[in-house]
């Protein structure tokens, strides 16, 4: 056998000088080449690449600045009535024209921005807190508690939200607080569902078990382990709550349940301008309608962008 093989494969030796010794630098091998990115830094980097979402973000920042400063800097006040100058088209003294009581539409538009942003942000924030507490508890407890709490959610989810909001507004009387309360009474359900789904998934991961084995208390686990890891979908949901709250506020104004006359929200302004569009006073409807649409657009594209940026599966 050996002879046969030797005959088939003639002995060949490779001379030693053909080999080149490669220097193995053990310390270099351990070196980190790229700076490690935290989840948030990475999400921010990816969001910056999304031009549409960044446009939305910049628009919203500008909108917030104008909403804060424009009513202060404007020479007119929101409620100042000036009948000789009613229904003026946009001009140098009234940039967005005036309404049927001679009030400056420019000032009122930015005041309306305050109202709309305030309603949207408050609704999102309150939804966030209720949703986190309810959904977090339900998801973390699991078992019977969870399925009972979810039954409640399922029934509430079936309620036609806008009808309940309208009902609450009729009973409590139209005011800013009422709008926010009515919107959150129905709105927190969606947030609770998302939080619960996330918590249910994450609570079985090893790092949570590790935390538990170190003796961490339940509130600590929820605060330190679960919540930070559920923040992605929660933030997206909050970004998408704001435009729907702004829409709901405008919708209620159209039904005559908005905030009352001398003050202005975009919905009230658009609703008041409705009867006069046939007479050609386009600016009274155009400016509030334009800003409602663009703001909702900005929040929607930002939400879409965040959804992609905060999704760990798409991390590249």
């Amino acid at each position: 056998m050996t002879n046969l093989r030797e005959a088939a494969l003639p002995q060949q030796t490779i001379p030693d000088e053909w080999f080149q010794k490669k220097n193995k630098d053990l310390e270099k091998a351990e070196e980190v080449v790229r700076p490690s990115l935290s989840y948030w830094k990475d999400a921010w980097r990816r969001l910056q690449k999304n031009k549409l979402a960044m446009t939305g973000l910049i628009f919203l920042a500008l909108l917030a600045l104008f909403a804060i400063f424009a009513p202060i800097l404007s020479p007119y006040s929101v409620t100042q009535v000036d009948y000789p100058n009613q229904n003026q088209p946009p001009s140098a003294s009234h940039w967005f024209g005036t309404d049927d009581a001679g009030r400056d539409v420019f000032t009122r538009t930015w005041y309306g921005a305050r109202i709309s942003l305030f309603v949207g942000l408050m609704a999102a924030l309150i939804d966030f807190f209720i949703g986190i507490i309810y959904g977090g508890f339900s998801g973390y407890k699991g078992g019977r508690t969870d399925s009972f709490m979810m039954r409640i959610i399922e029934v509430l989810y079936g309620l036609p939200h806008l009808l309940v909001v309208i009902l609450l507004m009729v009973v409590m009387g139209a005011s800013l607080t009422t709008i926010i309360v009515a919107l959150t009474v129905t709105g927190w359900v969606g947030m609770a569902r998302i939080v619960r789904g996330q918590v249910l998934q994450i609570k079985n991961y090893e790092f949570v078990t590790a935390s538990k084995s170190f003796g961490a208390s339940t509130p600590r686990i929820i605060r330190k382990n679960l919540l930070p890891n559920t923040m992605g979908p929660i933030i997206v949901q909050m970004t998408l709550t704001v435009p729907s709250a702004i829409f709901a506020e405008a919708f209620l104004s159209f039904l005559g349940l908005g905030i009352s006359a001398p003050y202005a929200s975009w919905g009230v302004m658009a609703s008041d301008a409705l009867p006069v569009i046939l007479s050609g006073d386009w600016w009274r409807l155009f400016f509030p309608a334009f800003f409602i649409s663009v703001t909702m657009f900005a929040f929607n594209v930002l939400g879409d962008g965040l959804q992609d940026a905060l999704d760990p599966k798409l991390r590249g």
Partner: protein
């Protein structure tokens, strides 16, 4: 399947009961009686009125009467228009709102699915970008803004379509367009993303390998699975459209439910508000129930489950 349907049914009844109770509690938590207004009524008349509307009874008794009125579908007379009953208002207004709502749903679903499918088939092409740009705008522009824009341009400036009322199919175009654009955009986006996912599946490759025509692949194999997410949101979308009709009806002066509902809110006509809310919510919850059942039939996983159970 039967167990699933039964569970959904119980859930539906519970939801309707909660809405009804909530409405009752809210309406009765308003201080004073609906007749305590600026015009001072004779005390005897007021007592008679309260007896007529059963407002003199203790609350639990009123609640029982109220539940009975829901079960028998008789919501009693309106307070502000005493010679009209809530049922009459519903019978007059609801068919029109229903027509508007259903036409809208039909238009939104068909055009949304077509748009989403074409966008997915031309992924990252011109049609895709155009459709998705349109979709983001559709979602962002509130329906009442769109409605006023449409009236301004198509009816007033160009005089192509009638600006208001509800008397011919031509009159339906603008309100339906205003109401359908938002839901259509949402459906188009959903269809596109789930279609893109489905098209990468092995069974689509298999269908292609069999030599089926692209149309057949899409219509028979891809759409059915791609449409599952669309069916899921149909219920909530329907609720949105039907409440959306309130505002659209007001803008276009359509004599549907919205008109009476807004009137009853402004007049604080409680029987009408209660009747309308309960009727509308029950209708919506029932639709949600139907959607769930349809979903159960469509979802292959639920069917598979049943077969395993039988075997």
């Amino acid at each position: 399947m039967l167990k699933y349907t039964l569970k959904r049914f119980v859930m539906m009844i519970a939801t309707i009961l909660i809405i009804a109770t909530l409405t009752f509690v809210l309406m009765h938590s308003i201080p004073g009686s609906p007749f305590n207004e600026e015009r001072t009524t004779n005390e005897a008349i007021q007592e008679n009125l309260e007896r007529f509307y059963k407002l003199d009874q203790p609350l639990p008794v009123q609640y029982a009467y109220y539940l009975k009125s829901i079960v028998t579908f008789d919501f009693g007379p309106s307070i502000k228009k005493p010679n009209e009953s809530v049922n009459e208002l519903l019978a007059r207004g609801f068919p029109i709102s229903f027509e508007l709502g259903m036409t809208t749903i039909l238009v939104a679903v068909i055009s949304g699915i077509l748009l989403g499918t074409f966008a997915a088939l031309r992924h990252n092409g011109v049609i895709d970008y155009a459709a998705m740009t349109f979709a983001v705008f559709g979602i962002s522009i509130p329906n009442f803004v769109l409605a006023t824009l449409l009236i301004q341009k198509l009816a007033v400036d160009w005089n192509i379509l009638p600006p208001a009322t509800w008397s011919s199919p031509l009159h339906m175009i603008l309100p339906v367009a205003a109401l359908a654009t938002g839901p259509m955009a949402i459906i188009a986006r959903l269809t596109r993303s789930s279609m893109l996912e489905v098209l990468t599946q092995d069974y689509i490759k298999m269908a292609r390998a069999k030599g089926l025509s692209p149309f057949r692949i899409i219509a028979r194999h891809a759409l059915r699975n791609a449409l599952m997410p669309v069916v899921t949101i149909m219920g909530t979308m329907l609720a949105g459209i039907l409440t959306g009709t309130f505002v659209i009806e007001k803008i276009f002066a359509i004599p549907g439910m919205g008109k009476y509902f807004v009137e009853s809110i402004n007049n604080r006509d409680y029987p009408v508000i209660m009747g309308t809310t309960v009727f509308y919510s029950s209708f919506l919850v029932f639709m949600l129930f139907l959607v769930d059942i349809v979903y159960g039939f469509l979802d292959p996983r639920i069917k598979l489950h049943k077969k395993e159970g039988e075997a």
